[in-house]
């Protein structure tokens, strides 16, 4: 761990903390803001992960899709 990586690490901790807190509070609009426009959000059963299979329970490859998922 280099000295210069420490601020990045703290920023990541903050991101994860906000991510968890916003889901717990069901504040999905704010949660969505944590994602870049191009992103991946996959919920994959272990059965598929272990076999290298891509399809899962949720498959979003952009923030727009993720937003649709939340709204629907």
């Amino acid at each position: 761990m280099t000295q210069s990586a420490a601020p990045d690490r703290l920023a990541l901790y903050d991101l994860y903390a906000a991510y968890g807190a916003l889901i717990d509070a069901a504040e999905f609009d704010a949660w969505l803001d944590l994602f870049a426009a191009t992103c991946s959000y996959h919920v994959l059963p272990r059965e598929n992960y272990e076999r290298g299979l891509p399809a899962g329970l949720v498959y979003c490859d952009s923030r727009a899709m993720l937003e649709d998922r939340i709204r629907s």
Binding site: P45, N48, L53, A55, Y59, A64, M65, D68, R69
Partner: protein
């Protein structure tokens, strides 16, 4: 239980008892799942190499299907001849033999019993008598039938040939779905606290689709205003629910559904590819749900393709095991499109999630009153026949008709 259980000879009334009675459930396992039906086991492409195997189910009976050294697909009950233990506990794999962990009895890829530890005992003491015939103690075989890569099995020696069992309309739909080699994109499982027949009915029920699933109506994936209908085999035990893309106008559909009290104009999508239909054949079908009695459903919703296997788990619970498919020759962009559309199905699916809830509330609320009945009369009662319209649940009566026959409770004079 006798034929007198039916209040109507056209199966337009089904007593709730059928969803909740443990004795009826046990009889279903014997007469239906271990009876003269063909059950979907899996796909040829899931076991490409000799020794490849997968574990599956026929009702509550655990089953293995594998490819033997000659390349043939074999299937047998996944239960050791010795103590009745599950032989294969993994979901899939590759092996030269199947060995039970309990006492290491070893079976070949044809299910035959090949080796028994300490068969002659130790120092001449113990073990099995010399008269013990291993050839009589293999894994119980299933007869196997394959339609363009879809593997079916039956436990009944006297089952009719698979092609005859399916009938020409069903066969034609399977040949359409499997007209190119498929590949598995993934699996998902949905555990529903409801009787398995509620699920079998749900997949034959045209009427509910666009009323329960607002998402389908709004985006025109499945609307009763579309050109479509239901088509069955001659015995009416299976069903194809079908609809054609772009066969209704937005204005007509919105007006019709506004009259039915269904809101369909408040949703819009940021990423419309989720619902975009890309025609893949020279027909216009964008919805085809092919239900094969008792437990298989082959599904095309837009460009999402899947096979669902209905796995009863006691009288009050069912697991829907879904295999999501693409074609081997799909370009990467088409695979991505199909992966996006997998969001429609499965336990978290924008469509399938609602079916799970509907089945659970029907199961829960019907339990206290076994002698009260459902009403199955959309599209009219009486004769069971194909319909070229969508506001109908007539294939449910076909399901019950064949169900009654297999259960030995078909009333004299009942419709078929």
């Amino acid at each position: 239980m006798t034929a007198a259980i039916w209040p109507a000879l056209d199966y337009s009334r089904v007593p709730y008892r059928f969803y909740h009675d443990a004795e009826i459930y046990a009889r279903e396992q014997e007469r239906i799942f271990r009876g003269p039906v063909w059950s979907y086991l899996g796909l040829d492409c899931e076991i490409p190499e000799p020794g490849d195997f997968r574990a599956t189910w026929v009702g509550e009976t655990p089953v293995i299907f594998n490819r033997d050294k000659s390349g043939a697909v074999k299937a047998f009950v996944n239960r050791c001849a010795h103590r009745g233990a599950l032989v294969r506990r993994e979901l899939s794999g590759n092996a030269d033999e199947h060995i039970c962990i309990y006492h290491q009895w070893c079976y070949g890829l044809d299910g035959s019993l090949m080796a028994i530890p300490f068969r002659r005992g130790i120092r001449g003491k113990g073990g099995l008598d010399a008269s013990f015939e291993t050839s009589r103690h293999g894994l119980r075989p299933l007869k196997v039938g394959i339609i363009d890569g879809a593997v079916f099995g039956t436990l009944a020696e006297d089952a009719e040939p698979l092609e005859d069992y399916l009938g020409s309309p069903i066969l034609a739909q399977l040949r359409r779905l499997f007209d190119r080699p498929v590949r598995v994109l993934g699996y998902n499982r949905q555990r529903i606290r409801g009787n398995w027949k509620l699920y079998a009915e749900n997949t034959r029920d045209n009427y509910h689709a666009s009323l329960l699933h607002e998402f389908l109506v709004t985006f025109g994936l499945d609307r009763s205003t579309q050109t479509g209908g239901v088509k069955m085999d001659a015995r009416h035990r299976h069903n194809i629910t079908w609809a054609e893309a772009d066969s209704d106008t937005e204005e007509f559909a919105h007006a019709a559904y506004a009259g039915a009290g269904v809101r369909n104009d408040f949703l819009s999508l940021k990423e419309p590819s989720l619902v975009a239909f890309r025609p893949e054949r020279d027909d216009k079908l964008n919805l085809v749900v092919t239900s094969v009695f008792p437990s298989a459903v082959f599904v095309q919703i837009s460009n999402s393709l899947a096979v669902r296997q209905i796995r009863p788990r006691g009288v009050g619970e069912v697991e829907v095991f879904q295999t999501m498919l693409g074609y081997e020759d799909d370009p990467p962009e088409m695979t991505l499109h199909r992966l996006r559309q997998t969001n429609l199905v499965g336990p978290a699916g924008l469509v399938s999630m609602e079916d799970g809830e509907a089945i659970e509330i029907a199961h829960r609320a019907s339990r206290p009153d076994p002698d009260r009945t459902t009403v199955i009369e959309l599209g009219g009662g009486g004769m069971i026949s194909d319909r070229d319209y969508r506001v109908t649940d007539v294939p449910l009566r076909g399901f019950w008709s064949y169900y009654a026959e297999l259960m030995g409770i078909e009333p004299a004079g009942a419709v078929r």
